[in-house]
Assembly symmetry: C2
Homo-oligomer: 143 residues x 2
């Protein structure tokens, strides 16, 4: 079950945000689509019923909804990368949200899950992305 529009608008008000027609329109558009939508796609969709809405309002609304965890954000690939020399063999990342420290770790935790997903969805899985976000010891002390 996905969150209803009602639940979302209620949560917005509870957190002190005003309920504007523009915000209703964004929520309506995102709630009525089964797909993940990029900000640009959402802009197109909302403009069908609300032609004067500004793109900045789309971004501002998404930011709020994501912060309140009323919408689900997906890593869609694109401008958000950093690189390091590869270690032979697959590994994952533990990242400090404050200072950016990255710790590599490895293991085979996902094989079984991957097989289940293949069976159930028919997907042919090529790879995955697993990252933990948190706070390193020294950043915990500084806070």
């Amino acid at each position: 079950m996905r969150l209803s529009e009602k639940k979302i608008t209620t949560a917005l008000k509870r957190h002190g945000y005003k309920l504007t027609p523009q915000r209703r329109a964004v929520i309506g558009a995102i709630a009525s689509s089964p797909d993940h939508l990029t900000p640009a796609a959402l802009y197109q969709k909302v403009r069908q019923d609300h032609p004067t809405i500004g793109l900045a309002t789309i971004y501002r609304t998404l930011e709020i909804l994501a912060k309140l965890e009323l919408i689900c954000e997906l890593h869609a690939g694109g401008s958000c990368r950093s690189y390091t020399i590869a270690a032979p063999g697959h590994h994952h990342h533990l990242i400090c949200a404050d200072c950016g420290e990255v710790i590599d770790f490895s293991g085979h935790y996902l094989t079984e899950l991957e097989e289940r997903l293949c069976r159930e969805t028919g997907f042919e899985i090529e790879g995955h992305l697993l990252e933990f976000i948190g706070r390193c010891q020294s950043c915990q002390q500084n806070a």
Copy 2:
């Protein structure tokens, strides 16, 4: 053990890429840093020894090295998002690399791993990102 510069340059040649001073410089810079570096950070670093290198060359080199899996790409947060209404409860994503279809799935596969990482690193973990990338059934047939 991380890949050595030697291994990387050998792999480049093996795949038919020319070994230019610029590419050596990028490889040297990335190999000599323990951190994950953004393209911009890498550009700064390489320019210290190679002031005339173009930013486009940095991007072009990173693209090749990533494709050959000689460097490790990290999702650094930022401009690469799409959204959907949140489902109550945590879930993850299975994404088709061809058509973009997204399938949600859920489960508690990561609790044990998370605890181990906390113990071993002292991190306080706040969240994680788990996405599988692959090809959906219909895109497999069309290929």
